[in-house]
């Protein structure tokens, strides 16, 4: 069975400081992992994905995530937060041979000016 746990429902950071959004997964098989962002009244947008290639994945807008199999984690980071990063972030796991996306419950990121 596949599942995702996003450890923080809300994260607040000051503009210009680092961002860390935590995600742990459970998967019976080799997983693919994704991070999506959802701005208010906008559709889900892909930030980055891991599909068993390089464990450090770079995405759009300066975000990156590292796949750590030993820790079953796929945390999302960004060196310096921007006001436009304020949104809801979802970690997603799926099997490499499957189609169904399993979403975490989301982390709401607030950026303080």
């Amino acid at each position: 069975a596949q599942s995702v746990t996003q450890l923080d429902s809300h994260v607040s950071v000051s503009e210009g400081t680092p961002v860390l959004l935590r995600c742990n997964y459970s998967s019976s098989y080799s997983p693919s992992l994704f991070w999506y962002v959802q701005h208010p009244n906008k559709g889900l947008q892909l930030l980055l994905k891991y599909t068993s290639a390089a464990t450090l994945v770079k995405g759009i807008n300066g975000f990156e995530a590292e796949f750590k199999k030993s820790e079953t984690s796929f945390h999302l980071t960004k060196p310096s937060a921007h006001m436009s990063d304020a949104a809801e972030y979802f970690c997603v796991v799926t099997m490499n041979t499957g189609n169904q996306f399993y979403f975490g419950t989301g982390t709401s990121l607030t950026v303080i000016p």
């Binding site: 995702v4 559709g43 947008q45 189609n99 399993y102």
Partner: protein, 115 residues
């Protein structure tokens, strides 16, 4: 190019009524997915189409929910005898391929409110 589109963007209906939600996937995408997102939750899988056929409908909550994709492009999610608990954001996504590594591209959603 055009992304995934969904209509209507908002739908308000009364308990017991029938509703249809439409999804237009990205042209050429063979796979189409429906998800439901309740307030404060992540999206939950409902059904997945590969071409015209429903390849996996294990997420449909009960037999009041049904979806079709007759020509392998546009899909319609149909809900009969709506209940207040059906109120949620309904999301559609499409992908080019059908493996777990393929990115799913999401539409803006239809917000359904059942009074």
């Amino acid at each position: 190019g055009a992304g995934v589109s969904q209509t209507p963007s908002n739908k308000v209906t009364e308990k017991g009524k029938y509703v249809e939600l439409r999804c237009d996937p990205i042209s050429g995408h063979t796979a189409l997915y429906w998800y439901r997102q309740s307030l404060g939750q992540g999206p939950e899988f409902l059904i997945y189409f590969q071409g015209t056929g429903a390849a996996d409908d294990s997420g449909l909550p009960n037999d009041r929910f049904f979806a079709v994709r007759p020509e392998g492009s546009v899909s319609t999610l149909k809900i009969q005898r709506t209940e207040r608990g059906d109120s949620a954001m309904y999301l559609c996504a499409s992908s080019h391929g059908t493996s777990g590594t393929d990115t799913q591209y999401f539409g803006p959603g239809t917000r359904l409110t059942v009074l």
